[in-house]
Amino acid sequence: MVVLREGMCPGLDADLLRDLRAADIKTVEDVVSSDIEELAQRCSVSYKALFAIRRVLLAQHAAFPVSGADLYEELLSSTAIISTGSPSLDKLLDSGVYTGEITELSGGPGSGKSQVCFSVAVHVSLHLKQSVIFIDTTGGLSASRLLQMLRAETSDTEEQMEALQRIHVFRLFNIFSLLDCLFTLRSGRLQQACVGGGSVKAVIVDSVSAVISPLLGGKQNEGMSLMIQVAGVLKTMAKDFNVAALVTNHVTRSESGGVKPGLGVSWSHIPRTRVLLERREGGADSSLRSATLIKSSRQPCHIKAEFDLQSWSRSKEGSSGKRKLEETDS
């Protein structure tokens, strides 16, 4: 809702505002929903003037319809696909993480969520020469690991340092600072934040569940509302700035013993693509992980791929050892 203020639109002067207040019309919604004819009489202004005000207010505050054809054209020119650095994972995701939408990685502790995030960040900063916003809520970001991954890709120190400079890190540990940060980025700071480093191509939140899960439950609705706001700002940011939003989520165990992504039913509608990462059976220190696509609008669900965390620290030549299992196409 928007409160009516003097000078919001031509013709809305102090006198009229006072009259409208007297008629219990305080917000734009009130003006728009009321019967203009009756209101004009009560406030003793002309119907025409009030109608014009209504039209201007609507044009200012309503969302504007766009033709699907235009939208498609725009989308074709702006959508980018960011590689995760792992061919099998890329294939699972239909060639990578798409810009303009939220992709979620969920998995138990040590399932490689952060590693995939690091790899995406490295890929964007090194190969695409674009910036990345990395919001770290778990203290899990290790710059030396990023460097290790970069070293596997290039031996040029200069390039490595430049790539590191294009990764912008926020360390935020509670919901309000996360929201504050996201809104600041959303209101245009996103593109300014990274001068000289190319435009931002990815916003990574690792992990979104760490700040949201303490909010849920208990006798209050506030937590849900904050969660939906985080989702909303991420979605609009992804869409309007055409960046890829990559978030990580924890898992909960259902009664049957299977795992499912955390944060409940309301969150489940939010990411457009969801991937579940799991450790492969076989030793606590194995680096093999399996990924299952559990939600996607491009690929059939429940296809699986396997990838090796070690491959990101090896040099390019050595990374051919990735295996794939049970990959299915239909």
């Binding site: 928007v2 505050h61 504007f64 498609y72 009664e255 609008s297 239909s330």
Partner: protein, 293 residues
């Protein structure tokens, strides 16, 4: 408000009825008529979005390709419209139809299909209300518009709940206003509304809830939005996913089985003119969209 005779005509006569939009979905002759509201309800991964794209593409496709060739307004509150997916569905349908008749180049036909679609994004319930007011002019100027899609009507539920404070009526105020306005638009312009609604768990018992699945599923299927909206809904499509064996063990089974993820829709129609009727149908999702089985 004044309107010209032509506008009045456009308003009342020219809109196409969507009764036959998908005969396999609605019971008997119970498709949605002018001024009726269809709610697609289900939790994540139950095929709501696919079904919506199916209905959407049926509307915007040209008559020659088995479509209805009507204009559609898509109100996207979840920022969930996946244009690429929609285009791939349209493409495959157009390709299938092209084997029978040839009309214009691919790009052109696709372009004209897409130009029948108007998309509008909303980010709060008050913006939704203002936008619906704003759309009134669009509706009256474009007689081709027969369908208004809202994906999803429940997007702002939690925001409204927390903004409304402790009073229930305050919490529901905005959506009630939207519903009332929609009711008027439906009467005045004789359009049809399709809206999706996400299943939620109201009595949220935490991330690791141990509530038994049987009791929570019935709780999950119950409508929860405000009364004015409930009164508006005439058809309710309850979407669910069939728990197939390859769901429980996705590793096992061949690719043949895996593409056969089956979704079920249970339709309850209760239009004012008719008595309540039901129909269940199943479909699976392929590259070219929904296929009924």
């Amino acid at each position: 408000m004044t309107e010209s005779g032509a506008q009045l005509f456009a308003r009342l006569e020219a809109r196409r009825c969507l009764e036959d939009i998908e005969t396999r979905l609605f019971p008997g002759d119970g498709g949605p008529e002018h001024g009726e509201v269809v709610e697609l309800y289900g939790s994540e991964g139950t095929g709501k979005t696919e079904l919506l794209y199916h209905l959407l593409s049926r509307c915007v496709l040209p008559l020659g390709a088995g479509g209805l060739e009507v204009d559609v307004v898509f109100v996207d509150t979840d920022y969930s419209l996946d244009m690429l997916r929609l285009v791939s569905i349209l493409d495959s349908r157009l390709n299938a139809a092209r084997s029978f008749s040839s009309s214009g180049s691919d790009e052109e036909v696709l372009g004209s299909c897409l130009s029948r679609l108007l998309v509008v994004h909303c980010s709060s319930s008050s913006q939704l209300l203002l936008t619906l007011h704003f759309l009134e002019t669009t509706l009256s100027s474009r007689p081709g518009i027969a369908l208004l899609l809202i994906d999803s009507i429940s997007a702002f539920y939690w925001l409204d709940r927390s903004e409304g404070g402790t009073s229930i009526s305050k919490q529901e105020e905005k959506l009630s206003k939207c519903a009332e306005l929609l009711g008027r638009l439906l009467r005045d312009y004789r359009i049809t509304v399709f809206a999706t609604c996400h299943a939620i768990r109201r009595n949220y018992s935490g991330p690791s809830s141990f509530s038994s699945s049987s009791s929570s599923s019935s709780d999950i299927d119950r409508p929860y939005l405000c009364r004015p909206w409930k009164r508006l809904v005439t058809h309710r499509l309850l979407c669910s996913r069939q728990e197939t064996t390859n769901m429980a063990a996705p590793a096992a089974g061949s690719s043949e089985q895996k593409s056969q993820q089956v979704f079920t829709v249970h339709c309850t129609s209760s239009s004012s003119s008719k008595t309540k009727s039901y129909r269940s149908s199943s479909f699976c999702v392929t590259d070219s969209g929904v296929e009924f089985i």
